[in-house]
């Protein structure tokens, strides 16, 4: 029960905001962005935080899912759910094939390889215009129905993405606490040590790579239907970097940290709008300042400071 306390609270907040403000722009538009980013950040955190494998190409799997859905539904009239499944198949297979050679690499070399993979896929989205529509993208992606209910307005999309975010969070929390999860933590700590104790680190890492790619792909498929439009720059390496930033900003190896980072980086631009030309400058400064003063991330360092402060107070009152 205690293990999932944070999860229940997250669910309660999500549902309450949706019920109380069903018309608010911040719920229906920003909220959906937040949930999408949170799903991606949590899945990336599985790989980065727990398996300790940096990836600068996560947006590519998000994009593969989105394009699989967009192309199959608009050009071939395939059922959206089958298209999503196809996307999962493509992303999962690609991740599976690439996992072994890529995850063999260490540190910056791994960063480079994932970055390269992401950029190659992005170039394909841009250049293969006969199928992807090129830089102008594909529009007219149909809406989906869930159990006979057409997802055709913003608040319904909020529920869909909110649901996906809760589901992803739940999976992440369970993986972390499972046997492979502990093996993962071992991998992050020290790979050689983990191998000594009989954990097949290579296969655990590969499995996590596939899981995180599949989650990103599902999010991508839904994103394509929600936007009714896809174009390559939504999946560029800049977005991959933004996702990494969310994970690190919130706090590596913390599921709620990743969510927190996603929330922050999705809301921040909305607030910085008023600064107009200064927006870029301030955004960069905020990133630097947070990371310099809270190197373990806002959520992790922040909650540590809060608990430390509370403990001190408890001690002094006793």
């Amino acid at each position: 029960m205690k293990r999932l306390a944070g999860f229940y609270i997250l669910a309660a907040v999500l549902i309450a905001t949706g019920l109380i403000f069903p018309d608010s722009y911040y719920v229906t538009v920003v909220g959906v962005t937040i949930c999408t980013n949170a799903v991606l950040a949590v899945s990336l955190n599985l790989l980065m935080g727990y398996a300790g494998q940096i990836s600068l190409g996560h947006a590519a799997f998000f994009g593969l899912g989105a394009y699989a859905s967009a192309v199959l539904t608009t050009k071939y009239g395939i059922n959206p759910w089958l298209a999503m499944l196809a996307g999962v198949g493509i992303s999962g297979t690609l991740a599976f094939i690439l996992a072994r050679p890529i995850l063999k690499l260490k540190g910056h070399y791994l960063a480079m390889a994932t970055l390269g993979m992401g950029i190659i896929i992005h170039i394909f989205f841009v250049q293969a215009d006969w199928i992807t529509g090129g830089p102008d993208g594909l529009s007219g992606i149909p809406e989906i129905t869930i159990a006979g209910l057409a997802i055709n307005n913003d608040i319904r999309w909020y529920w869909v993405f909110g649901g996906l975010m809760l589901f992803t969070t739940w999976i992440s929390l369970n993986i972390v606490d499972s046997r492979p999860g502990r093996a993962l933590a071992a991998v992050h700590g020290s790979e050689v040590a983990a191998q000594m104790t009989g954990v097949d680190t290579a296969s655990v890492k590969a499995q996590i790579f596939v899981v995180s790619a599949v989650i990103a792909s599902v999010a991508g498929s839904l994103f394509a239907h929600q936007q009714a439009f896809v174009s390559p720059e939504s999946f560029s390496f800049f977005f991959s970097i933004e996702l990494v930033t969310m994970v690190v900003l919130g706090g590596l190896a913390s599921t709620f940290g990743a969510i927190f980072g996603a929330v922050l980086l999705s809301i921040l631009p909305e607030f910085l709008l008023v600064f107009e030309d200064f927006e870029v400058l301030i955004y960069g400064a905020i990133l630097m300042i947070i990371m310099i003063f809270l190197p373990e991330g806002l959520f992790v360092s922040g909650s540590r400071i809060v608990t430390g402060w509370l403990k001190k107070r408890e001690m002094s009152t006793q």
Partner: protein, 381 residues
């Protein structure tokens, strides 16, 4: 675990705070815009925004449109489709605007078309692609010439000079790619053969490799679709390699900046452009001349060199203003109907005659073929 609880509660509180409802005003016309003011297409969005701001201030200081003041709300998309979508959502749902002007790029416009159609808000796009108005969408209009018109104008001129074999070189942006597609589609109609189809990345710094390949074909002219610094590099690289073939650029480089960047290499380059850049060279009988000079002088007095892109915003704004005036209300549907009835409006892009089947309303004659001579534009007859 309660530490995470705290953080989440704080987030919820933050959400509550930002949900404060913004009331929509009564007797004003709300115009929203989403333009690429920064980012790779800033040379489009920047003059567009300045133009809108300048004329809206002017209209308001003169008492508005028959007493209706304009409330202007603007967002910068940085040319990102996702941002465009979010901001248009914000314009429709949070700001509740009556008319939308934008986006600067075709990608940004196409990204929001479904959304705008569903929300029933009239939108006037400032982007080039023919896809925006074909097939016609009820609520969507645009003011710039299409890429198909540019390709047609270029091919007309190539044909008139007696050439048949064309080498194409284009970038990887939306403008470039859609220009390339129009060229490939139109070439057979003009009896032209595309003998080379080279590409480059818009942030590339050297295109000599592609031009070397073009040099080895039997191309008689080179056509480059692109904007930003790449076309200037292409132009310089062509001259550097001693390639003497005539070079055509698109309307994407119709600004003095291109001449400044490409320098001597720009001599002899031809391109289709709206009347604005040759305003002072047009005959006095040209009905556009007065409008063009007035816009040019007003803009240059305030911000410096004018570009045709700002002119598209001028056209969109005044088509809107005229529509509001003849509708006599700020009702979205009525404004839309009046925009569609625009007839004989003399803008910077040409003389607009819209109809239910044509949401642009410009003919090929609104383009002028110009050549760069001695660092300036010259009309080609």
């Amino acid at each position: 675990m309660y530490k995470s609880v705290r953080m989440i509660m704080a987030f919820a509180a933050a959400l509550l705070l930002c949900s404060t409802y913004t009331a929509s005003a009564g007797d004003t016309l709300k115009i929203g815009s989403f333009l690429a003011v920064t980012g790779p297409a800033s040379f489009l969005g920047d003059p567009e925004l300045k133009t809108l701001q300048m004329y809206i201030d002017d209209i308001n200081s003169k008492g508005g449109i028959d007493g209706t003041k304009i409330d202007f709300i603007h967002y910068d998309t940085k040319a990102k489709a996702k941002d465009a979508k979010n901001f248009v959502n914000r314009l429709i749902k949070k700001d509740r605007v009556d008319v939308i002007i934008g986006g600067s790029t075709s990608g940004n416009t196409i990204a929001v078309m479904d959304l705008v159609e569903k929300a029933h808000v009239p939108l006037i796009s400032l982007a080039g692609s023919v896809k925006i108005i074909e097939p016609v969408k009820k609520w969507i209009f645009k003011t710039p010439h299409t890429d198909r018109m540019a390709a047609a104008k270029i091919f007309e001129d190539i044909k008139a000079r007696g050439f048949n074999k064309v080498a194409l070189i284009t970038g990887n942006g939306g403008f470039d790619k859609s220009g390339r597609a129009q060229c490939l589609a139109l070439a057979p109609k003009y009896g032209l053969v595309i003998v080379a189809d080279e590409k480059y990345g818009n942030s590339d710094t050297d295109m000599t490799t592609q031009i070397t390949k073009i040099r080895s074909t039997d191309a008689e002219v080179i056509v480059n679709f692109g904007f930003g610094k790449a076309p200037a590099i292409v132009t310089k690289n062509i001259r550097q390699l001693g390639v003497k073939l005539p070079l055509y650029q698109s309307h994407g480089v119709a600004s003095k900046k291109f001449i400044e960047l490409a320098g001597e290499a720009a001599e002899g380059v031809r391109l289709p452009a709206a009347g604005l850049i040759v305003a002072d060279k047009l005959p006095d009988t040209d009905p556009q001349k007065r409008v063009l000079l007035a816009y040019k002088n007003a803009y240059e007095a305030k911000y410096g060199p004018v570009s045709t892109f700002g002119g598209h915003a001028y056209d969109a704004l005044f088509i809107t203003v005229n529509a509001v005036r003849s509708a006599g209300s700020t009702d979205r549907a009525k404004i839309r109907d009046e925009i569609e009835k625009t007839k004989g409006f003399v803008g910077t892009g040409g003389i607009f005659n819209m109809s239910p089947s044509d949401h642009l309303g410009l003919g090929l004659d609104s383009f002028h073929m110009v050549e760069i001579k001695n660092g300036d534009w010259v009309l080609v007859n």
